[in-house]
Symmetry: C2
DNA sequence: TTTTATTATCGTAATATTGCAATATACAAA
DNA sequence: TTTGTATATTGCAATATTACGATAATAAAA
């Protein structure tokens, strides 16, 4: 049905899945890598860098913002997107916790 | 278009996205947690445990198998799914490497 | 004010994903 | 062999995602 039965699962499971979903796209991975690689605060050279249309990039940025992975700072007519370090580390910890807790094998 | 322009991105970016995509579903998270929580080798009590139809679970298991996150051992008419510890840790390392390399902020 | 540049939103087309009923397959037990 | 049980596959309906053209919104520059 294309719809996920979130009611069946607990909050943590759904939260984890949501985070993974935001990261589950090479364009968004590339955007994150590009933003983090810049020393100065960079705006939408991202569009030129990535090679997707401006509305597409804008939409991907919105999804990254939806879990606070990045933040946009308005600078005149430009917007500067930066990685939200606090959230970034929080998510890394959350994923590691998932991987560590799920490491026991049954065979 | 629902289709991702993978040609635009490099192998590592696509690989990362694929891994995230497999994990981007609460049912698959729950399956992994359930499998790893069992001391004995557990088969499809998963269907009963999770609360989705058998074909649905079977499909999710197939996706988890597609990146070797789990392996299925045939035991008579039953199949025992276990976490592939080696791959599991490999993926955890890969994700940590992504998070570590992408930690520099621009603002 | 008009123009230009930057970013966001809307609408839409194409493809992907989720979920399940029906069915097929494989194997063990009777 | 037949029956029952466990798992996989197929086919389909519903919804989600990806991408982009057109357009709106915003702000600086002319």
């Amino acid at each position: 049905m294309g719809i996920t039965k979130t009611q069946i699962f607990n909050t943590k499971q759904n939260e984890l899945a949501t985070i993974f979903k935001v990261l589950a796209n090479p364009a968004r991975i590339a955007i994150l890598q590009y933003i983090s690689g810049q020393k100065a605060c960079i705006c939408n050279d991202i569009v030129e860098e990535i090679g997707l249309a401006q509305p597409t990039i804008s939409q991907h940025l919105k999804e990254l913002k939806s879990i606070d992975l990045i933040a946009g700072e308005i600078d005149g007519k430009r917007v500067c997107y930066c990685i939200n370090l606090e959230k970034w580390k929080e998510i890394q910890d959350l994923l590691n916790s998932f991987f560590d807790k799920t490491t026991f094998n049954c065979c």
